[in-house]
Symmetry: C2
Subunit: 236 residues, 2 copies
């Protein structure tokens, strides 16, 4: 019953062609948890958000408050998960995911893809006062994977700065690049390697790469500021 | 590179024999992320915990503070993850996981297994002032799965009560019973079914069950108190 769909990217602003991990039939694909951005459904979602949050700029877009609010559903981005307090991870958020992402109250997004950020996403960020940190890492395939350590380190510094929280880390599918950043964070949190790899594999599944895992194993956290991060906000 | 090891349960207090999901060669197995509870390593871990938390009851057990603190590693329970603010999920925590679990500062644990709680775990709970809620659900195999809706509902009520947070939900492997409780919570948070199933499958992997997913699909959340739970504490 695994849902695994590929769809052509809509507004990927893709002027710059790079090696795409899963290029099929000549068009780029972005996996999303759901695809149809049904305008009717979208209105209902926005309506609900406005009802919940006391209205906003978008309320004029939903003139017909319907009694079906209970039927609405949020669509988290592909591979969405909570990493720690104020830190989330996912694949590339699509417009269908925006109403869900709004509920996270994000202050920042770290995008690990090198392509120009899609216009729809840029507008969403602007409308919600979310700062974008882009660390472009190419999406190579094994055995030509070359994870730039310095870039991962810079991304990690942004993740560690609580002033940037709540924060969402995403790449395209939320598997490899995001998995490496989260894995290095776990290393800083002193998780044993087998647990770090287990978490990585939960998201990468059949696409898990030994090279990513070797990168995490060799990544030196000794020069990073050791903030006591491990779920500390959960302390009673 | 997937680590998938089975080991005989140590202190499972298993007076009552029930159907065990994966009984091999006549002994019960509990999967854990790591197995060797090396006393030397354990002392180093406790030492680190004491160093971090300003000492405690256990400090007398680690008389030789070593300079190798940086080498210690925490061992999260199998399938450990953060579900939402103050809510965690995992497989059965083993004594090797206790020093990690301590860092969560838990107030409660929900155990979804019917067997008597192991003595070592009970002692750990007592030492850390953690309240145990046990909702015994048998670990059936398909096609004889019968998930008791009332029990899941009761467990969910405990999960929803923030007075019980931080809270860890666990069963044996953190796949099916835990997956159902988390899935019903997601339904309450208005996640679309495909995303609920995707999260369920990330943990259940090859063991994913259609019957569990049908249970989540049919589960009626309308009678539950609709607390605005969705990552709300993350709001800036």
């Amino acid at each position: 019953m695994k849902l695994d769909r590929n769809f052509p990217a809509t507004s990927n602003g893709g002027e710059r062609e790079v090696e795409v991990e899963e290029e099929e039939q000549g068009f780029k694909t972005i996996e999303v948890a759901s695809v149809t951005d049904n305008p009717h459904n979208r209105h209902r979602q926005l309506d609900h958000i406005n009802n919940c949050c006391g209205g906003g700029d978008l309320s004029s877009e939903s003139p017909a408050p319907s009694p079906v609010v209970d039927e609405l559903s949020f669509i988290p981005p592909l591979n969405f998960a909570m990493v720690d307090n104020g830190i989330f991870r996912s694949g590339f958020p699509d417009s269908a995911n925006f109403s869900f992402v709004e509920t996270l109250g994000l202050r920042s997004i770290i995008c690990l893809c090198p392509e120009p950020y899609p216009e729809a996403n840029t507008e969403f960020l602007k409308a919600n006062g979310i700062r974008l940190f882009q660390f472009g890492i190419e999406g190579y395939k094994e055995p030509f994977v070359n994870i730039p350590e310095d870039t991962i380190r810079e991304a990690l510094q942004v993740v560690l700065d609580v002033k940037n929280h709540p924060l969402l880390i995403h790449c395209k599918r939320g598997k490899h690049r995001t998995g490496c950043v989260v894995g290095c964070l776990r290393k800083l949190q002193k998780w044993c390697l087998s647990s770090i790899f287990d978490e990585y594999q939960r998201f990468a599944a059949a696409k898990a790469r030994v090279s990513d895992q070797r990168f995490m194993e060799l990544f030196d956290v000794s020069t990073l500021k050791h903030i006591p991060l491990s779920f500390s906000c959960s302390r009673r």
